[in-house]
């Protein structure tokens, strides 16, 4: 049950923004570690040997579109259009699953090319950073599928719009972290 804080704000939303703030520090530390050790690997494979920009660009596009689906789901729930809410929620989860499949393919191909967690500093920092992000996407997909299932059973209504909004906050945060990772790790080599 949600309550109003003394600021007149929803307590769950405020708590979730505080959580997102703490997540900024988690990803900040991982990105800092990646950047500090960047270019210090003494054995290959190096970033330019393995990173596939066209493939990752498609993954980035996929995640951006999933964010669009998420806000459309929220808008549908807020106007009590549960039919479209179900469609957008499932689409968001599906695009998240596509992103994860892409990440599994990418990790597998990197391992085949000799880049592992133990191989060099690039491998260690890259896999920890992108793997932590992937774990967050996985949690988001499970969360979205749970909401979608609730919507299918008629247990998600306009009265639960805040629940969908908080789910959206998490999903968009995962998206903005990828925006940073795509630039810092993939494009600035």
């Amino acid at each position: 049950m949600s309550h109003r804080t003394s600021l007149g704000l929803d307590n769950r939303k405020m708590a979730f923004w505080a959580f997102i703030g703490s997540e900024c520090l988690l990803f900040g530390s991982l990105i800092a570690t990646y950047l500090v050790y960047k270019g210090r690997s003494v054995v290959g494979p190096y970033p330019h040997d393995v990173l596939n920009i066209p493939f990752t660009s498609i993954s980035t596009f996929d995640l951006l579109m999933s964010s669009l689906m998420m806000v459309l789901a929220l808008a549908a729930v807020q106007r009590s259009d549960m039919r479209w809410a179900k469609v957008w929620l499932f689409s968001t989860a599906l695009l998240g699953i596509f992103f994860l499949c892409g990440q599994v393919y990418e990790f597998t191909s990197f391992v085949h090319e000799g880049l592992t967690l133990q191989r060099n500093l690039f491998g260690a920092t890259f896999f920890v950073l992108t793997g932590t992000h992937g774990a967050h996407v996985s949690v988001g997909v499970l969360w979205l599928l749970t909401l979608w299932y609730r919507a299918l059973r008629g247990k998600l209504t306009a009265a639960n719009a805040m629940t969908v909004e908080i789910t959206g906050l998490y999903w968009h945060f995962v998206d903005v972290i990828w925006i940073v990772i795509f630039t810092v790790v993939y494009l600035i080599q």
Binding site: L7, D10, L25, L64, T183, L187
Partner: protein, 102 residues
């Protein structure tokens, strides 16, 4: 369990969401384009960081509704974000990423 009616709303319309998505796609295409054009290699890092910052801001302002919501949420998010950025820059400085050339 039902939610109380949120007071801190005034969310954008679907048309605004679609326009933001279009801008995000265009910026992503620009990012990848800049990466492949050799003429941009001299200014690649600042250009990519700028484009990334614009995308980040658009998602946070419109999709996460910080533009319309209470400024307190901006404080809860912006404070740790600034701290994280400061930590990244400080560690890069300490580990010699910004070593001055003689």
């Amino acid at each position: 369990m039902q939610d109380q009616k949120p007071a801190e709303h005034g969310h954008p319309t679907a048309a605004v969401y679609l326009r933001v998505a279009a801008v995000l796609v265009i910026l992503t295409v620009l990012e990848v384009g800049v990466f492949y054009v050799p003429q941009f290699h001299g200014v690649l890092v600042p250009v990519l960081l700028f484009l990334s910052a614009v995308k980040f801001t658009l998602v946070v302002m419109f999709y996460m509704h910080l533009k319309m919501d209470s400024p307190f949420f901006t404080f809860l998010f912006g404070g740790p974000l600034l701290l994280a950025t400061a930590v990244i820059l400080a560690l890069m400085f300490l580990f010699g990423a910004f070593t001055l050339r003689r």
